[in-house]
Amino acid sequence: MSRYVARRLLQAIPLLFAITILSFGLMKAAPGGPLSIYRESPDFDPADVTAIEEQLGLHDPIPVQYAKWIGNLARLDWGYSYVTHEAVTDRIWQRLPNTLTLMATAYLLTLLIAIPIGVLAAVRQYSRFDYAATTGAFFGISMPVFWFGLLMILTFAVQLRWLPTSGMATAGRDFDLVDRLRHLVMPALVLSLVSAAHYSRYIRGSMLEVIHQDYIRTARAKGMRETGVVMRHAFKNAALPFVTLLALDIPELFTGAVVTETIFAWPGMGRLYLESITRLDYSVLMAILTVSALLLILSNLFADMLYAYLDPRIRYR
């Protein structure tokens, strides 16, 4: 096992290099740069802008710039934002808690919705409940997130006026939990309903596979109550592949949800990424891309290890 993990980690190194080189090259191929808006402003002398760019090393050959970037990264220095001049880590720390609040709530809601629905739909296969769950899942899977968000705002904020349209808090008010929750409801619901649609199908599938196994019949034969059979024996085994699926979603806790955060103006990591794109804030973009790629690799590995740990029949070489 440890040899397997070591090999996977070694394979990750060239992958990370490839990804960072690719994104770095892409970004540098773009016309303009973080300072180009000053060039159009009458308050600045274009010659000064060029001089500052020169000073920041933005005119160096791209491989040199990349080498500098990766060299700094080796000392865990992510650099400074070209737009706000704050340290990239500060920029990220400002946004990360917001994204974690949103994503963790959505995660929890997803599980609370998807698990009971998936299990019940499998236990009562072909029942009316199963058909309703299947239809609902098809709706959720086919729903474009941004449209779902717009419809929610249209219904609950514009028409019914129950909830605020966007943002994280009412402007000018001190932090207040009820207010925060009122802002959190819609984005968290949009995220969780869509992913619950996917997950409930998955749980239903693996429950159906397990429920016809011999040991389930044995459990029933020894007189166990049906809820016990379903929860203790069936669900525990059916949850195996599901747990690894959850592990694969870990990177999203960091990257956030670009679309949902945009619709609801939630100041999280997804928004930060989009804002940095419009200004070509290289250092922030590179940090977000690199960390998400790293998290993707690690969560993949983690999922595989978790699977082998939970199911002793699986061996990796």
């Binding site: 992958l15 899977i141 717009l150």
Partner: protein, 292 residues
């Protein structure tokens, strides 16, 4: 699920596939899936009206009409007009071209990839698949969309580049397992060459899940395209796409709420139909499926 098949069933499947009328059999099974048939009809109607948008659309898609600004849905404008008086329905019909081209181009691409993988299974290519899987897809697509002038061609290429991996892996996996099966050995024993084994014996058995994955991949690509356009990094206005038509809908929500409803409804209907068709194909192409 499907991996738990017995050899006997597998051989039976091969015999059935070798028989003429194999496609007809699948079609018979597909036709019995009511939702899949509905999906197919909806897709056919949407694609046809998108292709014939110039003829079918009641108005020109990009000519403003100052006398008809923000007209709610009614007789003259079935889906209303936007803030500069363009007919929403006409724009939606034209916008359908984008989704149709994405679907057709991507389908062709995924198809040729699976064909190609039938021949070459290469370690280097699988490493490249790993790389593509590790890319944070939406983040990279947004970056590229922001940097380069986004044209329809570029978007289709990008979507293709970032969505072929699942199909490729699926083909590879089923080829790896199928080529060890007895029926392949049997075919080889009676003197069948590589090409015949690949096309006649392995591909028909591997193609079911690939077609299904490809279908769902197309649905995913349409969804990603509309997301990019919605965020403003896809095909740029004035060219109408379903995604970029929703871009201004949010700020218009109080004045013209219908603008937020119809484009999404078109995307939703398309994706839903494709998913139903995919479901129908799964049942029709998998002879081991229990529903008959």
């Amino acid at each position: 699920m499907t991996t738990l098949s017995t050899e006997r069933l597998e051989t039976g499947a091969v015999l059935a596939r070798a028989a003429p009328g194999q496609v007809r059999l699948a079609w018979e099974r597909f036709r019995r899936h009511r939702l899949a048939m509905i999906g197919l009809v909806v897709l056919a109607v949407l694609a046809t009206s998108a292709l014939l948008a110039d003829v079918v659309a009641p108005y020109a898609p990009d000519i403003p009409d100052v006398e008809a600004i923000r007209v709610p849905p009614g007789l003259a404008h079935p889906m209303g007009t936007d803030s500069i008086g363009r007919d929403e329905l006409s724009r939606l019909l034209h916008g359908g071209r984008m989704a149709t081209s994405v679907a057709v181009a991507l389908g062709t691409l995924l198809g040729s990839i699976s064909g190609y993988y039938g021949h070459a299974i290469d370690n280097a290519i699988m490493r490249f698949t790993d790389l593509m899987y590790t890319l944070p897809r939406l983040l990279v697509l947004l970056l590229v969309g922001a940097i380069f002038k986004t044209t329809l061609l570029l978007i289709v290429v990008l979507l293709g580049l970032t969505s072929w991996m699942t199909v490729a892996r699926l083909v590879r996996a089923s080829f790896l397992s199928l080529r060890e099966k007895e029926f392949v050995e049997a075919a080889r024993t009676v003197g069948a060459g590589d090409r015949r084994i690949i096309w006649r014996h392995i591909l028909p058995n591997a193609i079911g899940p690939v077609i299904v994955a490809g279908t769902l991949g197309v649905a995913g690509a349409i969804l990603v395209e509309s997301t990019l356009s919605y965020l403003g990094y896809g095909v740029q206005p004035p060219t109408a796409t379903w995604g970029n038509m929703l871009q201004n809908a949010q700020s218009e929500m109080y004045a013209a709420p219908w603008l937020a409803v119809f484009p999404g409804l078109f995307i939703f209907a398309t994706i839903m139909s494709i998913n139903f068709v995919g479901d129908g194909l799964r049942d029709a192409l998998d002879p081991r499926s229990t529903r008959s």
